[in-house]
């Protein structure tokens, strides 16, 4: 067997195997026509293979023409087979597309049926004649699609609310002219005569020539949304009414910082009408208050920024989602106003901030009142603290509630030590047991005045006081407690003692000359006829001298008293001080010579003229020279020296006498004070008191320094003019 024959037989075997497979597993071979053609192809191929083999068996010449025919059949069968395969593939694709279309239609139908509204296709005529309506029309209008299509029972145009028909038509035509979709909200009247709000979206469908062929769209029921919206608007209107009714200025901003509420009180406060402020953002609402844009507390409750908030509003207090502060708004009113501000964030259902509301209150009046109250309290406190008398207040149980500074000084206790303690523990006076003025005042509910007694200082010293007590009543007339005013009368008591002492001494000093006068006068009367003339003269001289002393004493006392009381009138005139001193020294010089004391004048010439009462100043100088003469020993020296400063003339009287103890120096100008070591020297203690009174009456001063056993220096300083003295 030749290789060619082997190959041909192998070919026949392969084709036969393929044919066998097709035949045996025909049910698993897909296709119908193509399966037959495949079988035919294989049969023809097998037949062709037989002819090929036959060429080698000698039959070739006989069957050669038939072989070519079979070969051609094989070629054509390939073609038919491929065509069949392509056809079947095409059919399968078509079938798949048809199935897809069917599925799509089914999905569309399902979608249409389940749409919450009505899909439609209609003509652009006033009746909106429907060509297609989805089953949603039943729920929306109450009519079946069949009843609406071609206006079989009712046209859709008739369902549209009569008030809205024209607006709907106009809106749709405008959209069609613009070439865009239309969105409408209007009312329809359903089959059950109920009005419904509907939302419609549609578009014009145009042919390839640009002709409008239909309208397609969707209508859905939004009655519940509309009702909710209407209810919301009503709620907003009510809220706006409430906010407008509020007496406090109130505004609100949304998340974007735009004003959404600006109530009537706010209009009145700022003078800015709501329509000019609503919708404005960028902190414009702060301009009427500050004159510039700046965040308000409402901004901070929406977006909390602590550092900025404290910087802008140092008094700001934050409590959860609320802030409170008080500020001065300089741009408000003529001179600015004080505002109390409260801002709160408004949250939605999920707890997210949606807006902030801020309410303000003009507290300028309150602030002014607070200022006045504080001023009054300060004044009261100042008055209470600085009263020159001690004051304590007590409650109804006589426990101390307040004590002033003078009270602290008199009692020796500090305020914080006594407040709350029983009054008697602090005052500890003799009156506490039986005649406590404040207790009596509270008992009688009337003032108790000018009671004198004593209280105990902290250190145990008894202090004489004069007490006034009264009740303190509250605004409702109820008894709140009492007040006690007590005055330390230690000095008054001392003055009274001094007065008694002065009167006693004055009487005593008057008594000696009066006794002399009385004695000699009585003797003269009883021995008028027996006494010799020279004795009578001597007695009368004594009576005259003692009367002179008495007169001098009374004059000094009167001058002193009048000067102290301000009743003595000094006769001011220009006086030559040098002349006065010179004449005085000339007058005194013989007496000093007789006493063995050297009187020296120094710089007394060319002193300026001063305004003064010459006779009384002469008494001053005379008194000082008399004292120098009186308290100096023989062989000593007395110097009268004058000098001047810009404003004063100084006259210095220096002696080398017995001097004055330092303990006695503060009292030498006191009335009736006499030194303890004066011995037999005469004096009634009014001289230096008179000197000081007269010099003081000239606006001058008198000073003294002394060393016991070495002498004293008295300096009289007189102002050159009365104006200088007053200064």
């Amino acid at each position: 067997m030749s290789p060619i024959a082997f190959l041909d037989i192998l070919f026949c075997d392969s084709v036969a195997a393929a044919l066998l497979i097709v035949v045996v597993r025909r049910r698993r071979i897909p296709g119908s026509d193509s399966k037959v053609l495949l079988a035919a192809l294989l049969v023809f191929s097998l037949l062709y293979g037989f002819f090929l083999v036959a060429e080698w068996t000698g039959l070739a010449t006989t069957w050669e023409s038939v072989e070519d025919v079979v070969g051609s059949l094989v070629a054509m069968t390939w073609g038919f087979f491929f065509y069949s395969l392509a056809q079947e593939a095409s059919n399968r694709k078509l079938a798949a597309r048809e199935q897809e279309v069917r599925d799509s239609r089914r999905r569309l139908a399902t979608l249409m049926d389940n749409l919450p509204g009505m899909a439609y296709r209609c003509r652009n005529d006033p009746d909106w004649t429907m060509e297609f309506v989805s089953v949603g029309s039943v729920a929306l209008t109450g009519y079946d699609p069949e009843e609406l299509v071609e206006n079989r029972r009712v046209s859709y145009g008739e369902l549209i609310h009569s008030e809205d028909r024209e607006a709907v038509w106009d809106a749709v035509q405008r959209s069609l002219e613009a070439g865009g979709p239309f969105h409408l909200i209007y009312r329809i009247t359903a089959k059950d005569s109920s009005d419904k709000w509907v939302w419609e979206q549609g578009v014009g469908v145009f042919s390839s020539e640009g002709e409008l062929s239909a309208l397609e769209g969707f209508v859905t029921d939004i009655t519940h949304i509309k009702e909710t919206e209407l209810a919301l608007n009503e709620a907003r209107r009510k809220l706006a009414d409430i906010l407008n009714f509020l007496p406090d200025p109130t505004f609100s901003i949304n998340n974007a910082g735009e004003v959404i509420i600006w109530n009537q009180a706010m209009e009145e406060l700022t003078g800015v009408p709501a329509h000019r402020m609503l919708g404005r953002g960028g902190c414009e609402y702060s301009v009427p208050f500050w004159g510039e844009r700046r965040p308000s507390p409402a901004d901070f409750v929406l977006k909390w920024d602590e550092s900025s908030a404290i910087r802008e509003y140092p008094a700001l207090i934050r409590e959860k989602d609320t802030v409170i502060t008080e500020v001065f708004a300089p741009a408000l009113g003529e001179n600015g106003r004080y505002l109390w501000i409260k801002a709160k964030v408004l949250l939605d259902e999920s707890g997210k901030p949606t807006a902030a509301i801020e309410t303000l209150r003009d507290v300028s009046s309150r602030k002014e009142l607070e200022k006045k109250l504080k001023k009054a309290a300060d004044e009261y406190q100042m008055l209470f603290s600085n009263l020159p008398v001690g004051v304590i207040t007590v409650d109804a149980d006589l426990r101390i509630t307040r004590i002033n500074r003078e009270g602290e000084k008199i009692t020796g206790f500090q305020s914080d030590e006594v407040v709350g303690r029983p009054c008697r523990e602090v005052m500890a006076g003799a009156m506490c047991d039986n005649s406590c003025p404040i207790r009596n005042a509270l008992a009688k509910r009337s003032p108790v005045g000018f009671v004198e007694g004593d209280i105990s200082h902290r250190n145990g010293t008894r202090i004489p006081v004069r007490v006034n007590a009264g009740c303190l009543f509250g605004g409702d007339g109820g008894l709140m407690g009492g007040i006690e005013v007590f005055q330390d009368i230690t000095e008054i008591k001392q003055l009274e003692e001094e007065k008694a002492k002065i009167i006693s001494m004055f009487a005593h000093d008057m008594k000696s000359p009066l006794i002399g006068i009385h004695g000699f006068a009585a003797h003269l009367l009883s021995h008028t006829e027996t006494l010799p003339a020279d004795k009578k003269t001597q007695f009368l001289e004594i009576i005259g001298r003692e009367s002179g002393k008495l007169e001098s004493l009374i004059n000094d006392f009167l001058d002193f008293s009048r000067l102290n009381l301000g009743k003595l009138k000094l006769n001011f005139d220009l006086m030559d001080l040098s002349k006065e001193l010179r004449e005085l020294i000339e007058t005194f010089e013989p007496r000093f010579q007789d006493a063995g004391i050297r009187l020296r004048a120094k710089n007394i010439e060319e002193l300026p003229e001063i305004e003064g009462d010459a006779p009384r100043l002469r008494r001053v100088f005379t008194n000082l020279l008399e004292n120098a003469l009186k308290y100096s020993e023989s062989g000593t020296r007395v110097t009268v020296e004058a000098g001047e400063t810009a404003r004063e003339v100084l006259i210095r009287f220096e002696d080398q006498g017995i001097g004055i103890n330092s303990e006695e120096l503060p009292y030498v100008f006191n009335m009736f004070y006499r030194g303890r070591k004066l011995g037999h020297r005469e004096g009634h203690g009014l001289g230096l008191a008179g000197v000081e009174s007269i010099v003081n009456g000239h606006g001058g001063r008198v000073m003294v320094c002394s060393v016991p056993g070495q002498g004293s220096v008295f300096v009289v300083a007189l102002p050159k003019s009365r104006e200088a003295g007053e200064v």
Partner: protein
């Protein structure tokens, strides 16, 4: 060398026509499974017919051998294709 036969040329022309159809509508067969085996089988047949025609003009022995080899290749590929599609139910669908 053998004499040229018109029948062989007819087979070749018909085969070329089928080839043209295949090339033109190739995308239509995309869903046919194991398509490459079927096409190779057809191409082998087509080559056999080409060699059948050529053997009358040049290299008779070689062309003749090639003709019959490609017949075998074509038959074997067809058998394999039939076997595979019969094992894959719905493969042509």
């Amino acid at each position: 060398m053998r004499t040229f036969q018109e029948g062989e040329l007819v087979m070749l022309l018909i085969g070329m026509g089928v080839l043209t159809f295949l090339l033109r509508f190739r995308k239509g067969f995309k869903e046919t499974s194991e398509l490459h085996l079927l096409f190779l089988s057809f191409y082998s047949f087509l080559l056999s017919w080409l060699f059948t025609v050529l053997e009358s003009f040049v290299l008779y022995s070689l062309m003749n051998i090639l003709e019959h080899v490609f017949y075998v290749v074509s038959g074997v590929l067809m058998a394999i294709w039939c076997f595979r599609i019969s094992k894959t139910r719905g493969a042509v669908d």
